[in-house]
Amino acid sequence: MIQTATFGLGTLYRRRLAVSTRTASGMIGQVVPPLLWVLVLAPALDTALGSFNPQVDYYTYVALAQVAFLIPFTSMFSGINVIVDKDFGVLRELLVAPVFRAAIPLANALGVMTVALVQVAILVGFGILRGAEFDTSPAGVAWFLAACSLLSLSTYGIAETLALLIGRQEAYGPMIPAVGVTPWFLAGSLFPITLLPAGIEQVSLFLPWTHALALMRYGMMQDIDPGLADIWGMDSNGTMALLSLLALVAYAALTLFIAIRVFYRKSTS
């Protein structure tokens, strides 16, 4: 039964990857702004402003924030492919293929996640070359990758849903920065969320960006407050990391579930 349900997922996943890699300009274009931050702006900010906390390596802090910038941006950007597939591409062919329809958005989500992880690897690599000090212990990397993957799936679910509901490239385009980037400013990217105005801080607690970023810092920056206590208000970082991980799993499950439901509704009249 599971084999039947997942049949076609691999083929569709490889297709999505192939489509993404054939539009290299898009992949590169998405990496350039965060790379500019990692290579130029973050060191400059570190030098000019120092840090909100002398114990925090602000350059590494901001470099990780760029990972949380890049992933949702890539997800939102990939929503365009959903519209292109619908309007000019092969979606109708896929809809008459003997695969479960849910496999189509799920394969898209996994393909986009893979692309995002490759982009993150490039970003982290350049960050290390520029002097960022990441904790690369297996456990730390595992937390980091889990956060990246779940943030990608969560935000891709949003992107696919919006692309299906909006349906037109010209109307979807403005949503890329609005939805893909705006929450990043509220997620503790450049400073802890406790420094946000009252009210907005509460909003930030419900953003997957906030949880993902705190988890990334928990995994990749040793001996600092990763921001988990600002979210959960507990003492144990391990417990709070687990809670944020579960929150991200819930976000990913919810947004992908909604995306699949919308896909079903839109693809079968």
């Binding site: 083929t11 297709r15 000019f88 591409g89 092969v90 109708r92 062919e93 008459v96 293929a97 693809s267």
Partner: protein, 317 residues
């Protein structure tokens, strides 16, 4: 009797908002048959194909394709069918060969078989030398031939062709018709074809269902439909009011005279021997004739008689 490969009984489809696209149509398609759904745009042809290919949910009715219920067993239906859509539906980021390979993997065609069938179908469709090229560089006819090859790759029991030649020039249209005829003979596949081209229905279909406003108004072999109508048509181009000619024709008990602009058409039941009497009666009623012609009747004449409109949508007077 042979078990039908497609069985449709009382199919209804009402879209949100109340539009009733299909109003209870029923038909069967025998294995190996080329079955045409002929009708104007908006008649319900594409909706019918949508239901049969599981992309449109029926509101009511019992529909089976290759022995599988389209609602309860959509995956089984999709495994047994291939579809060529009205609009070109190719993966534009890939070559022709890559489009075929994607289809083969999705339809679980074993690798060796996929390789052999791909080569064979590319050869039949005259695309072998262009297989490695991006489909963005293909002409409309090449894209359509590739789509037909793709739909046949998994050796489906039923092939759906939704307006397969729309937008193609006459020469390419003729070549697609040849391909369809070859497929029927070579692949033993059942073909359901929608079209609003009369000549296409006559040229390639074993049976034709004429669809109008969500209903099947006639269903038979093209020749039988034409013979029931009259194998020839007399066209009278009238100077003055054509209604006078119609009055004269009705007094002759001529069957179903129709008026299009200044031309009156009359089906000829007994061949050309009716012609003289009809012309004489019209002239005897004081109607002046600018031109007279006898031509073979077409499915358009049948459609006009049944609906009062031409297939291109012009109403009759």
């Amino acid at each position: 009797m042979t078990t039908p490969v497609i069985w449709v009984d009382g199919l209804r489809k009402a879209y949100t908002g109340g539009l009733e696209a299909l109003k209870g149509i029923s038909f069967e398609v025998a294995p190996g048959e080329v079955f045409g759904l002929l009708g104007p745009n908006g008649a319900g042809k594409t909706t019918t194909v949508g239901v049969l290919t599981t992309t449109v949910r029926p509101t009511a009715g019992k529909i089976e394709v290759a022995g599988h219920d389209v609602v309860r067993e959509p995956l089984a239906v999709r495994r047994e069918t291939g579809v060529v859509f009205q609009d070109s539906v190719l993966d534009n980021d890939f070559s022709g060969l890559e489009n075929l390979q994607l289809h083969a993997r999705l339809w679980r065609v074993p690798k060796n078989e996929a390789r052999e069938r791909t080569a064979s179908l590319l050869e039949i469709m005259d695309l072998t030398t262009r297989a490695a090229d991006s489909v963005r560089t293909y002409s409309g006819g090449m894209r359509r031939r590739l789509e037909i090859a793709r739909a046949l790759l998994a050796a489906p029991r039923v092939l759906f062709l939704d307006e397969p030649t729309v937008g193609l020039d006459p020469a390419v249209r003729g070549s697609i018709w040849n391909v369809i005829r070859q497929l029927r003979d070579r692949e033993q596949v059942t073909i359901v074809l929608t079209t609003h081209y009369l000549e296409e229905a006559e040229a390639v279909c074993d049976r034709v269902a004429i669809v109008n406003e969500g209903q099947i108004i006639a269903l038979d072999k093209p020749r039988a439909l034409l013979e029931a109508f009259g194998s020839e048509v007399l066209e009278l181009q009238v100077d003055g009011d054509p209604r006078n000619a119609v009055t004269a024709l009705l007094s002759l008990e001529a069957r179903d005279p129709q008026v299009i602009g200044g031309t009156v058409t009359v089906p000829l039941q007994n061949g050309s021997q009716d012609t003289g009497a009809i012309i004489e009666a019209v002239r005897g009623a004081g109607v002046s004739l600018a031109a007279v012609a006898v031509r073979r009747s077409t499915l358009n004449d049948v459609f006009m008689r049944l609906t009062g409109t031409r297939l291109n949508g012009n109403s009759l007077n």
